[in-house]
């Protein structure tokens, strides 16, 4: 069954060096290539022999019913989980088993399903933590605020302010994150991820629990990020309408297996996908 889906996928992937989307954006080479990933927790198989790739500049969605292993997949990419089998290739190189912080330093930023922000810090401080890997001057110079350290801080601060403007959260810059409503927290988390100027941005259910208006805002931001910064984005989302509108290609998972992969239209008409979402009629 998987072969069938794969064959289906390859039909629109005969262009080895990327493709052009319907709205005219150019999608480049493979940036992240996941090869036969298998992840087990004790006896439970969370991901079973899944392969797919993420191309430079595209918005790639991972969808599937609850418990399909989508978040586990994202955690494999961001280094929070280490798969038992399979290889992760990034920028044409096989990635050794890295710690999450090392993955982050490679230019892969992420947000979490349940929001992981520094609740005690202000919005500005939270976003500033995204710049930690851009601070190179010594700790002594930083303590006493000397020349290079001071310039560096100013430059980082400027970048952070740009992102804050971009995501329209200027009015809450100095507010401690703990006091913010859910929707805004999600946006601050996106801001912090963007502050790291990632090549690949992983979003775990960026629109979960939002109302229609907030969802529209978030969709707009995701498209703008992709468009203006050229950031490659992989996201997990439950809202089908959103997924179909946003993404260039979609991976569908069910019970830890890949059951579909292709453009939104292809996936929508895939029988297995329809069965996984709506159930198979009894015969």
């Amino acid at each position: 069954m998987i072969e069938a889906a794969e064959k289906h996928m390859h039909q629109n992937e005969d262009l080895t060096s990327g493709y052009t989307t319907a709205d005219g954006r150019r999608i480049g080479d493979v940036m992240m290539d996941l090869k036969s990933i298998t992840l087990r927790f004790g006896g439970v198989v969370a991901i079973q022999d899944i392969s797919f790739d993420i191309r430079q500049g595209e918005i790639r969605a991972i969808i599937g019913p609850n418990g399909a292993g989508k978040s586990s997949m994202l955690n494999v990419i961001s280094g929070f989980y280490v798969p038992q089998e399979g290889e992760v290739w990034f920028r044409g190189k096989k990635r050794p088993s890295l710690k999450p912080y090392q993955v982050a330093q490679q230019g892969i930023a992420r947000t979490f399903q349940n929001i992981a922000l520094f609740e005690g810090m202000t919005v500005l401080d939270n976003v500033m933590t995204g710049r930690l890997n851009f601070m190179k001057s010594g700790w002594l110079a930083q303590t006493i605020w000397l020349g290079k350290a001071s310039r560096e801080e100013t430059a980082n601060r400027q970048k952070v302010e740009e992102i804050i403007d971009f995501l329209e959260i200027q009015s809450i810059r100095k507010t401690p994150v703990g006091r913010l409503p859910y929707g805004l927290k999600k946006r601050v988390e996106l801001a912090r991820a963007l502050a790291a100027e990632p090549e690949l941005l992983l979003l775990d259910e960026p629109m979960a629990g939002m109302n229609v208006e907030e969802k529209e805002d978030m969709s707009r931001f995701i498209l703008d990020v992709n468009d203006e910064f050229g950031t490659t984005i992989a996201l997990i989302e439950h809202d089908m309408g959103v997924v179909m509108d946003l993404s260039d290609r979609v991976v569908v998972m069910d019970y830890g297996k890949k059951i579909g992969d292709g453009t939104p239209d292809e996936v929508r008409n895939n029988e297995q996908v329809i069965a996984a979402y709506l159930g198979v009629p009894n015969e």
Binding site: S78, F80, K99, P100, Y101, Q102, A104, Q105, A109, R110, T111, F112, A116, L117, F118, E119, G120, M121, D125, M128, T129, G130, L132, N133, M135, W139, Q142, T143, I144, W145, R192, A193, A196
Partner: protein, 331 residues
Amino acid sequence: MSADFLYGIEVILNGLMAGVMYALVALGFVLIFKASGIFNFAQGVMALFAALTLVGIMEGQVPFSHLINEVFGTEVHHFGWHVPALLAIAITLFVMVAFAWAVQKFLFKHLVGQEPIILFMATIGLAYFLEGFGDLMWGSNIKTLNLGLPQGGSRVIEDMTAKLGGDDFYGFFIDKLDIVATGVAIVLVLSLICFSQFTKQGRAMRAVADDHQAALSVGISLNFIWVLVWSLAGLVALVAGVMWGAKSGVQFSLSLIALKALPVLMLGGFTSIPGAIVGGLIIGVGEKLFEYLIGPMVGGATENWFAYVLALAFLVFRPQGLFGEKIIERV
């Protein structure tokens, strides 16, 4: 001004200076607790170990000399040199950083994600291990720490303040060592605050204290931060060990200063640096003043228990401490 009133002020001044020392010890606890959720029972023994190491290095003692002599049948005790104080402090600091690294590498790295009570038990084990290790390394005899710090009451302050009162008042008696200790503690606390506010590592430290998962996702190595906070706690332990050691000798009882930090933590909150400072000052002044005013009525020696009773009363009304974060679960 009446002499009693002036003596009261003197008591408060001495209390404040004692309080700064309590705050210093409490700070070591707060640093580690904030960043890793570990209540480090070994903080007091770390102070003892740091002081022992400092004395040993200064006097050119051969570490593990007893063991070496037993095994090899030699008779080495001293290298025969004396290391200048500043250099010895630098070497001791290096030893404390190495200790921090070893603790993380061989102990807590294997206990990530364990229950707090398990981590706490691990630090109790660590405390007794370090105590024995210190004895093995430097011997268990009582040592004097002679850094050349000024000792005894300050004549200058006494003379200057003598005129404030009448004939029955002889001026404030303030120990010079206490003044130095207070100065050092204040400098240390201020630089720790600057470090945690303005540097990349400090920012990362606060990030880890707040949320481990989020910290990982922005590229912070938890392992590095934990070694860093244990090193800082080692630095704090060194300063506390030096100051208390200079005052009352380097011996086992030095490790009991950790017990003095407990009521400070209950008062100030386990997660707050300003809390540790204010808590330390309140306990310091409180116990000295209580001893001065109420002590004579109840037969004295109130300093042994006053801090704990105060902390206990505090717990009833404000369990999270003065500055601790109140945890409100949204339902």
